[in-house]
């Protein structure tokens, strides 16, 4: 039997045809919700990028009118010249949008929704309606955040970390409504993430297809599952902290007000107790999806599957004990600093395991450089730089020098742009056929990748040097300082690279939209992959499978000597395979 015991696709398994609104807007289908997240978070990615361009203009050419900046109101940029108060809003909102409304929903909202049921052989999420609410709450949160630019005094001005008491006192920050909207928006986002996470966790635990045991799950699902646990437990802390901050701003509580006995450092502890798990929320799913793509592109089983899983779990677990490394110079107890330094350094170990195992996967492979694979290898190459530069900050004495400098800015962008975004470009291209039934342009994908790699490094690598020179973050006009003035040519170089980088991203957006309507029609399994989702037609139908597939092996059986082709789908039954033993069901 050479063809798989292919489960039949269900065009409308048990579902009556639905109207446009129920099908595409208030949909409970996990794939549509994933796609909704995709469109919305790509929009916010563009917004965040747009804000970054304005920041870069000001840093490269301080005090010069921004081209096209004349359309901004007088309170932000009179005559196109950015004002200091607008600059802080830009910095704050760029970070907030990118972290909370672009990268996080792109990784978790899009791919946890889209991949978990498809890769596990479930018809849908455990709670489809809660899933829908999760999207709409996130959408609402994004709109509230965006509204910040349109209220009197403008958007929040205390940085994306909103350190109290600056954020708690409108009289000191100058932002009244903007800062409140920031808090309200993040409470909404927290709610959305919790609703999403409980869905993902329940689905992974309860709704796997027969034979899909824990250690047959693809690494992407493992990573998304662990990420969901992090999100579930971390976001409520942020919500709680944001509520306290909101109360400080509105009803006169004194949580973070030292004058009345409150503690300024309490906000930092709460924020980073959430914030560090958040950092792993922003990278673990990328690591998982990159693992899938690299195994596919190398046509080889993933190297050390089990240690990859344990590395994910280890990173997530250690992630709760390192938050203090954001606070080494904050006046925190220095003994606590030592503890946090050790746990932070230890977390480099599981990250190293992952990098070496990806290389092990490529070793003696048969490497296909399709666009997702290029981006995945780009991810590994760039994540290494970001990971290694993290060691500089982990060493406490050195952190005293480079904390809050551009070295940190370089580090976070190497991890979040070089890491997460490269993985996302790969992942979007990879699963695009299953989402929309068409393939993104290969040629433009490659052009986008190489140009991005070039301009990205031109933009962010010099920031290490700038930071080593002692340049502080969030400085409106670096020429105020004598020791920074000689760096102005470097700043202009970074700015021009950043503009080119932004322009390059437009290639991706155009490719995305063009392929949506004009792209080549996709086959069922364009990448010759083993996962369950590739047993469905492209695009995958509502309800996924008519009959749930049976799984016989792990997801990475590429180039298996048992078959002639270089891939072996999880659902294909070989004569040696036994039917999975099924456990009795609880409450079917």
């Amino acid at each position: 039997m050479t063809t798989a015991a292919a489960p039949h696709a269900a065009p409308h398994a048990g579902h009556a045809p639905m109207g446009f609104w129920r099908k595409y807007i208030f949909s409970t289908d996990h794939k549509i919700i994933g796609i909704q997240f995709l469109f919305v978070s790509l929009f916010f990615l563009l917004v965040g990028g747009f804000l970054a361009m304005q920041i870069r203009w000001q840093l490269g050419f301080p005090g010069r009118p921004m081209p096209g900046g004349g359309i901004l109101p007088e309170t932000m940029a009179p005559g196109g010249v950015i004002l200091p108060e607008y600059y802080i809003q830009l910095v704050t909102m760029h970070g907030t949008f990118m972290v909370f409304f672009a990268i996080m929903p792109l990784l978790v909202g899009v791919f946890a929704n889209f991949l978990i049921p498809l890769k596990l052989g479930a018809h849908d999420m455990a709670f489809p309606r809660i899933n829908m609410w999760s999207f709409w709450t996130a959408f609402l949160a994004g709109m509230i955040m965006l509204a910040g630019f349109f209220v009197p005094d403008g958007a929040a001005r205390a940085g994306w970390t909103s350190y109290a008491p600056l954020s708690a006192r409108p009289d000191l920050s100058g932002a009244s409504y903007g800062q409140m909207l920031w808090c309200i928006s993040l409470v909404c986002l927290g709610l959305s993430s919790i609703l999403g996470s409980l869905n993902y966790i329940t689905t992974v635990i309860n709704n796997r297809a027969p034979g899909m045991t824990w250690f047959r799950m693809p690494l992407s699902v493992w990573a998304l599952f662990i990420t969901a646990i992090l999100g579930l437990l971390a976001l409520p802390v942020l919500s709680g902290a944001a509520i306290m901050l909101l109360f400080d701003q509105t009803i006169g509580t004194h949580f973070f007000d030292p004058a009345a006995g409150g503690q300024a450092l309490l906000w930092q502890h709460l924020f980073w107790f959430f914030g560090h798990p958040e950092v792993y929320i922003l990278i673990l799913p990328a690591m998982g999806m990159v693992s899938d793509i690299i195994a596919n592109g190398s046509r080889k089983p993933i190297f050390g599957y089990h240690s990859m899983v344990f590395a994910i779990v280890g990173i997530a677990f250690l992630g709760w004990m390192v938050w203090g490394h954001h606070m080494f110079v904050s006046g925190m107890n220095p003994t606590l600093g030592s503890t946090f330094m050790v746990s932070t350094l230890i977390i480099a170990v599981p990250s190293a395991i992952k990098v070496f195992n990806w290389m092990g996967t490529m070793w003696r492979g048969n490497l296909h450089f399709h666009v997702p694979m290029l981006n995945a290898v780009g991810f590994v190459a760039m994540f290494v730089i970001g990971g290694l530069s993290g060691i500089y900050m982990a060493a406490t004495p050195l952190d005293m020098f480079i904390h809050d400098t551009y070295f940190i800015v370089a580090h976070i962008h190497y991890v979040l742009f070089g890491g997460s975004l490269f993985a996302l470009f790969g992942a979007i291209t990879y699963w695009y056929p299953k989402m929309f039934g068409r393939v993104m342009s290969e040629r433009w994908g490659k052009i986008h990748f190489w140009l991005t790699l070039l301009f990205y490094n031109c933009t962010f690598f010099p920031m290490h040097i700038y930071g080593m020179g002692g340049a502080m973050r969030r400085i409106y006009d670096p020429t105020q300082y004598d020791f920074l003035r000689p760096y102005q040519p470097l700043n202009q170089f970074i700015t021009i690279s950043a503009f080119l980088l932004f322009a390059t991203q437009l290639i991706f957006f155009v490719n995305f939209w063009w392929s949506l309507f004009k792209g080549k029609k996709a086959e069922q399994n364009p990448w010759h992959d083993n996962g369950l989702e590739w047993t469905l037609p492209s695009p995958a139908p509502h309800g996924n499978w008519e009959r749930v597939p049976t799984v016989y092996r792990g997801p990475y059986e590429f180039s298996s000597p048992e078959v002639a082709e270089d891939y072996l789908p999880q659902t294909r039954k070989l004569p040696t395979d036994r039917e999975p033993v099924l456990a009795p069901v609880a409450g079917a």
Binding site: P301, T335, W363, G365, L388, A395, G470, F483
Partner: protein, 227 residues
Amino acid sequence: MHWWLPLKASTFAGPIDGLFIAILIITGIAFVVVEAGLIWFIVRYRRRPGRKAFYTHGNARAEVIWTAIPAVTMVALGVISNHYWVQIKGRNSIPPNAYPIAIHAKQFEWQITYPGPDGRLGTADDFTVRNQLHVPVGQPVVVHLSSEDVIHSFYVPQLRVRQDVVPGMDIKAWFQATVPGDYELACSQLCGMGHYKMRARVTVHTQADFDAWMKQAAQAGTGGTGS
């Protein structure tokens, strides 16, 4: 511009720059190994028709090796770093003979209070200067940091010293300058829209110059800065 760390002007520069270079070497090796390996694999194992990849699920020995090496390196790095950390910020790190200066940060200026000729803070001959930090060379200085409103951060790159100034907390930081000269004190924690211009001039004097300045400034009462 320069492509390297700023001038080493305090006793902290030795250990901190040393750590920097040590980590640069460690991460440099890791970086070269990984990137060269990636490029080598990309070229060597690129797709060829009719070839099948080597079928393996892993190698326990290789994985133990590349788990153990980073683990040992990181623990060693942690031990070394902690040694210097305790000297720089540890509970008992401030030298007992350190010269005290009180710095009060507010949006957007540094109010720097000198102990006056008697060398003790909190006495009648103290005087306060805006945005002018004068310290003697070769003498440990302890700054008592306090904030009026929000969190600021005391940062002098050439002295390799940084400490957040947190309202409601009384934080001390110390340093010992080694090279006389003019430097800049920057606020490195976002403190509002004037954050970018919250700077002060740092002058490291020789002991004789410092004494002369102190005498003259104490007489003027406001430091005679003209600022």
